[in-house]
Point group: C2
Chain length 209, copies 2
DNA sequence: CTTTCATATTGACACTGTCTATATTGACTT
DNA sequence: AAGTCAATATAGACAGTGTCAATATGAAAG
């Protein structure tokens, strides 16, 4: 085997990513310093350099992994609901699962979620990030295209709009923008209400065909 | 006079904020370091401490100012359109102006816009930030309440949804999420198309009353 | 057993924010 | 007009950061 326990430390790369994630579960990405991660993994401050050329590379790898996690969450959610109802879900229900998976993830792991979109810390051009991120987005576009009539409205615009709404809500929540009176119904219930708006909108579009 | 030219430097506080903004127009907020701002203003690296206890305070003051700028933009936009048509705008048009002002600002000054929502760098609890930010948001809520029927849908949720969409689009654009095929119609035209969706949605809501 | 080379360590450098002690200087008091 | 005071600016230091270079370690290959 090539990846188990062999060298000085034994798969330090994985250990570093795990340490980084553990920090990210407690604090802001600012706390994920090379030195802190190294210390937590029990190695010297320069050891990570052998596996990640710089901090950006470490955080990029972490984000890539998490994008994949989100995609798996969506897939699992759809599978679960499908086997429940013993029938294929219609596009609106599948979009609802996407929406729900995303919001659940974001509300449960705010710092992980934030990392995903820190373009100053994560390289979104690199393939290991692009691919899993695309898979999620493409899924949304695919479902929207099934629902929407091209002659009535541009499916791309609808996709961008829904994705924006989803992300915007999570991002703004973390700034505290929606706290206090603004979010009397906060967190998941609010998200459900937002989903209803999307549902209504899409349903209306469908019936206009 | 108390604020013109008097002390060692002469209203260094203003000069520092101007320097910071100039940097922010060229690069990420990461480039807005205390030392860089000080150098640009022609003072020593510790001089800013007399006016801002720490970097957070400087960035908070900057964000506060910019929130006010955005609000003024909206107000000016509405005034302009009102004097054009020589009649009061209906709520949908006023929301359109809000939408447009925000997106124009965000697309023109991406780094300024991003600073507004960096809760790790800006104190959103402090009054100088809260007040101008609230004024913008309250404006949106006020107009939505005029359009929406409380029995059909919760106006708060609609406000949160629209605000989220607006912010989410700008934020995601900067990560590159909507580049390439995803945003063939990019920037302002895409924003216009999104606004259309909002318009349609709100209009339908209105006609259901 | 020796060589080899990926991996890990130590130490250094430039940069950051922030603290302390010191110097400057405009404005007010007498 | 002279002298005091308080606000403002400076210089230097410190701990922390990412990253680079030189060195050490040790598992696997010959």
């Amino acid at each position: 085997m090539a990846k188990s326990k062999s060298f000085h430390h034994g798969d330090l790369k994985r250990a570093l990513m795990r340490s980084a994630l553990e920090i990210l579960d407690k604090e802001d990405v600012a706390g994920v310093t090379i030195r802190a991660v190294a210390k937590r993994a029990g190695v010297s401050h320069a050891a990570p350099a052998n596996h990640f050329p710089d901090r950006r590379a470490l955080l990029t790898a972490l984000a890539a992994e998490q994008f994949a996690v989100v995609f798996d969450k969506i897939r699992a959610g759809i599978d679960a609901k499908t086997s429940d109802t013993r029938a294929d879900l219609d596009p609106l229900d599948r979009i609802a699962v996407l929406f729900d998976s995303f919001l659940t993830y974001g509300l449960e792991y705010p710092y992980r979620y934030q990392l995903l979109w820190r373009y100053d810390l994560v390289d979104h051009e690199v393939e290991i990030v692009k691919q899993p991120a695309d898979r999620v987005y493409d899924f949304l576009v695919g479902e929207i295209e099934k629902v929407v009539d091209r002659n009535t409205v541009d499916p791309d615009t609808v996709s961008v709009t829904i994705w924006s709404m989803m992300h915007g809500y999570l991002d703004l929540r973390m700034t505290g923008m929606f706290e206090d009176r603004r979010d009397r119904i906060s967190g998941a219930p609010r998200a459900q209400a937002m989903l209803m708006i999307v549902r209504d909108y899409l349903h209306d579009l469908g019936s206009r065909v």
